[in-house]
Amino acid sequence: MKDMTKSVQKAQNVHNWYYCWPILFLFVGCTVKMNAVQAEEHAIIDYILQNRKGKVFHKTISTTFFGEGLDQFTGTINFSLCSDNIDSTETKLTISEMEFLEMGLRELKTEKVNGKLSNFPEKITKSKKDGYFISMPIVFRNRKHAIYYSETYGGGQFNLLVKKGSRWEGSCASMIWVE
């Protein structure tokens, strides 16, 4: 009887493990995907710092100068300015993409643009007066596109980036506010 109980318990443990594997795979899979997204975010920050004039403020932002949440502007994103240069399949956002971006913009957090995020410390400033401001980028469309918000003393805009090969490139911009 005792042996039987033991073998039932053993079988149950195996059974439990059997059902845990998918969860474990899912967890590992999510972590790998998260790291891949983070790697793209870092590559984008490096792209911005390398290609933009001036220095970026050392902390990312999540609202406009007026304190408005960036998610409320998702519906106003419009990249028709670049219609002559870019295919409309790149500039037009689908409803599900807009929903994804809205959620991402709502959940944006302030992060430090330091050595962990960027390889260009000389392009970072702690002085608000001297720098421009950026939000963390939101990567979408299978990590081939990204949007981030940037702001200076005279306006703020969403910037669309496209990954070409292994490099990120600025593609278009959409106004959020202008003086």
């Binding site: 933009r52 007026f66 519906g75 106003t76 419009n78």
Partner: protein
Amino acid sequence: MGIINKLALKDMQRLTVPDIGQIDGTGHLSQGILDLFDSSGNYDITFKVEQLGTTENGNELNGGTTPISGGWKIKLDSDLVNNGTQLSIAKTIIHESVHAYIGYQLANYNPLNSDIVADLNSLYQKFKNENNSLNLTQHEFMSQYVDALAYSLAVWDNHRLTMDYYKMLSWGGLESSSAYQVLNNKTNFQNAIQNERYDKVSAKSTKCP
């Protein structure tokens, strides 16, 4: 509100034919823009007065335009409204209305009618790598129409002052443009702009009653 309503009126003083009750005056920039939004079933301009504050570099914001659902919101700084002359407020409304007009053109982009968008795009390509690329793009675009901005201001002011004075004021907010950079006597321009902005002794207009 009175300033906005008057900006929407046509130029009644420059009629080349006597007013016989059928001709309602000649159009101008701000009137055309406000009329466009007034007749649009899809887009509105909303005006709001609020404290806009000062940016980190000490730049006092007079106004701002932002897209909202169903149109554009123009924010006027409460300090400007309380302390600036009516001419300075009218100038700011005209300036911000043009930003809303640009937004309207982009929102209604049509490949068959895309001259303005093409012009904006070619300017954007020039400023693409600047941090405030769209701000520079729109102000560079607007600097081509300073005469029209000034004329609207003159109409609003019943042509009381010289066109040169209205032009000087209309350069306010366009200082980043290449056209402004090459102007002579920029000090005079800035003096006029500041006089009206802060209702200084030399201002030629008055504050709102």
